[in-house]
């Protein structure tokens, strides 16, 4: 590393500034030429935004094969996150999750993972042909949410599948729940398995104080970190972190199998500046985040009816730790599905939260918020209770159903399939995904047995207004099943 390079630097940002100053003649792509080709777009997004939307060139390095400023920015990120190598990702954390799986598993290899993974992980299995060994996550009966993996369950899966290549861990889940990743790393490593962490919601673990353990700190081998989710970079930008146990060159080859060759400098510079900001101000920013979330939890719990859950859930097993920046609120005791509260907040109160599922809502709080946003959210919840609260009897009381896997995802996805009305699909093998988005955790994945319980659950989600995706039929009236 360049001796002058410190965390106060932002190599990509500095190179772009220099590039703008040089007034380089743009006889390359992109064809908008700094926005001159499309003034409406330029006026809307801002002149600087269009001017730094440039293609790779020698002074700005190349994402597929970084040798100068991108390499330096990645090195600074490695230092900031405590990783051996880091890769800037511009195809979303989906690409980072897939790269982890592609880099550790080939077709037919086994990978141990909780079933409540993001669709990107199972998608990766469809593409590469690896076989999932699902560890059923714990579930909280009251809240109806899937939890982390208990160490005992992971240990059992490892013992029964000594040939598995890797263990994938959500750190944390969408709801902020962490497994004992340190112990899982020890178990996996002593059985020659890699540990891959989906840290889409865990950027802040690396910089805040008093938060759960980050994957790199726990000794995991790879981690997919959505800097854009809680770290302040632009949507779709992400970082893949690696430890000593994986080959940097091989991982880059794997990333380059699917990642664009026209990496966006808007996304890359946002990663560069986000890293600098996180390193320099992260401690303070995440303290503010925790303070906001803690205050909101206390106030929401005073309203009555709602349950904004927090660290009290920790049981040192399948809730090994709780991410206190997450503001999740259980709504069912008030007679409202989470998705109903989510819709009312948006439609009536102009408040957009992250998601609502059957029993809960999740609001994302960050240092970018002000007291105003937090007070409005709490006050709106108080109003929703006053105006819409009702008797909760008769409401669906579980969120997570453990599936039965019949075929591997790739085998099922590429089998001969037929489309059947969804209400006639009971007992058949599903050939595609069904999920509510967000959170994007599949209710059914390719190769899983369709049950009446799952069908009831899907019907209930549709009735409550969940945004359902995954099936070929956009209305989810039909479903593809394996013939």
């Amino acid at each position: 590393m360049d001796l002058k390079l410190t965390q106060n630097c932002a190599p990509i940002y500095e190179a772009l500034q220099k590039h703008l100053k040089n007034r380089v003649v743009r006889l390359d792509v992109p064809g908008h030429k700094g926005g001159r080709m499309n003034k409406e777009l330029r006026n809307f997004l801002g002149e600087n935004c269009l001017k730094v939307d440039v293609n790779s060139m020698k002074p700005l390095d190349n994402l597929c094969h970084p040798v100068s400023v991108i390499k330096e920015a990645e090195e600074l990120a490695s230092e900031a996150f405590g990783a051996k190598h880091s890769f800037f990702i511009v195809n979303g954390t989906t690409a980072a999750v897939q790269a982890m799986i592609f880099a550790s598993c080939k077709a037919g290899d086994k990978i141990i993972m909780p079933r409540n993974v993001h669709r990107s992980a199972i998608n990766a299995l469809v593409v590469c042909g690896a076989i999932p060994v699902y560890v059923n996550p714990g579930t909280n009966k009251q809240l109806g949410i899937p939890l982390g993996m208990s160490v005992a369950d992971v240990e059992k899966a490892i013992r029964q599948n000594p040939d598995a290549k890797a263990v994938l861990v959500n750190n944390p889940t969408y709801y902020g729940i962490c497994s004992d990743i340190r112990r899982i790393v020890e178990l996996a490593h002593s059985n020659n398995m890699l540990v891959l962490a989906d840290e889409a919601h865990g950027t802040h673990f690396y910089f805040g104080e008093g938060l759960p353990c980050s994957a790199m700190e726990a000794g995991a081998d790879m981690a997919a970190v959505s800097i854009h989710k809680t770290g302040g970079s632009l949507t779709q930008s992400s970082i893949l972190l690696c430890s000593n146990n994986v080959s940097e060159g091989y991982v880059r080859q794997v990333i380059n199998l699917t990642q664009t060759t026209s990496g966006s400098y808007l996304l890359m510079v946002s990663l560069d500046l986000a890293r600098k900001n996180l390193y320099l101000n992260g401690k303070e920013m995440f303290k503010k985040t925790v303070d906001y979330a803690t205050y909101a939890r206390e106030e929401i719990n005073k309203i009555g009816g709602y349950y904004a859950f927090g660290e009290e859930l920790v049981n040192h097993d399948d809730i090994y730790a709780f991410d206190t920046t997450k503001l999740s609120v259980h709504t069912r005791a008030m007679g409202l599905a989470g998705v109903e509260v989510y819709d009312i907040l948006r439609d009536d109160y102009d408040i957009q939260i992250e998601f609502g599922d059957i029993g809960n809502i999740l609001a994302i709080v960050s240092a970018g918020d002000r007291e105003l946003e937090i007070e409005r959210f709490i006050s709106a919840l108080s109003e929703i209770k006053r105006l819409y609260g009702k008797d909760p009897s008769g409401m669906f009381d579980h969120e997570y159903i453990n599936p039965t896997v019949v075929l591997a995802p790739q085998q099922a996805f590429y089998s001969n399939k037929k489309s059947v009305p969804i209400n006639q699909s009971c007992r058949m093998i599903c050939g595609e995904f069904v999920m509510c988005y967000p959170p994007g955790i599949p209710i059914l994945a390719p190769g899983e047995r369709i049950t009446s319980e799952i069908l009831d659950y899907i019907a209930y989600c549709k009735e409550k207004g969940c945004f359902m995706t995954g099936t070929e039929d956009m209305e989810i009236n039909y479903i593809n099943v394996v013939v």
Binding site: D350, E371, S379, A380
Partner: protein
């Protein structure tokens, strides 16, 4: 040397007054606070570059925001005032011996301190034994109250800045909850003359209407506010601002006012057509 203060009323319209002296200028946690001494309007309170009050015309605003609801329900005993760090609304309310309790919530304590020092004309009744001051966010304060107040007066700044939360649907709903069965909510309601304000007036009216069965608007003339034509909102659970007016009862109190009278009270709810169109438009 001549010193002039200019407030932007729209992108293309300025309002400019000649300044004798700038008496105070500082930035609080929430906003920029300035006090000017002017030739025409006396002392002027400016927040974030917008005139909040002048010594010359503040009586119009403060009389209209208090006496209208008090004349509809002279039995009002407990009042909540949100905003109003200048003290003018409190000053008018303390003139009623029948009022037993005035809770006042102001988010920015520095405004109160500055007004006490530079605007004694309005900031003169904070030490009335019935007045209780809370330096807190109004939205948060009112959320915790239920059935406690006969009158809530929202004497806020504009909807962009620290007063933003006081123009929301959740705030009006929380106010409904905080009021007694005969409760009245009065709010400063901006103006519809310039296009840039129209959407906010419309949305505010709709939001109040979604919480209160009675939801009306009245007007007054305030020379130093944009266009000079200013609106207030009158919302209530069951009292009508004109049909339920207790003119004789109010007059018997013998309060001397410079702008408000009970005839004007009846007339101020009669609105120009262009305002009615804005309010009626869904």
């Amino acid at each position: 040397m001549e010193l002039w203060f200019t407030e932007k009323h729209t992108d293309d319209v300025n309002f400019t007054i000649k300044v004798k002296k700038q008496l105070y200028s500082a930035k609080s946690y929430y906003q920029q606070i300035d006090i000017l001494d002017t030739y025409e309007f006396g002392r002027v309170l400016v927040l974030d570059g917008f005139i909040m009050l002048t010594e010359k015309d503040e009586y119009i605003y403060h009389e209209m925001i208090t006496h209208v609801p008090m004349a509809v329900n002279p039995q009002i005993k407990s009042v909540l005032v949100i905003g109003a760090g200048d003290g003018g609304t409190i000053r008018e309310l303390t003139r009623y011996d029948t009022i037993e309790n005035i809770d006042m919530v102001e988010i920015d304590g520095q405004v109160i301190e500055v007004c006490k020092e530079y605007l004694p004309q309005t900031a003169c009744k904070f030490d009335d034994p019935r007045a209780h001051l809370y330096i807190e966010d109004g939205l948060k304060f009112v959320r915790r109250k239920s059935g406690e107040y006969d009158l809530i007066i929202v004497d806020s700044t504009d909807p962009f800045g620290p007063g933003e939360g006081l123009f929301t649907k959740e705030f009006y709903g929380n106010c409904f909850k905080a009021l007694t069965d005969s409760g009245i909510l009065i709010n400063q309601h901006e103006s519809t003359y310039y296009d840039s304000y129209v959407d906010m007036v419309k949305r505010t009216h709709q939001r109040i209407g979604s919480a209160f069965p009675v939801c009306m608007v009245y007007q007054s003339h305030i020379p130093t506010y944009p266009s000079g034509h200013w609106l207030f909102g009158f919302a209530a659970k069951n009292l009508h601002p004109v049909y339920d007016l207790k003119a004789k009862e109010w007059e018997s109190l013998g309060l001397k006012t410079r702008y408000y009278n009970t005839e004007l009270h009846k007339g101020c709810f009669a609105l120009p057509n262009y305002v009615k169109e804005v309010l009626a438009d869904e």
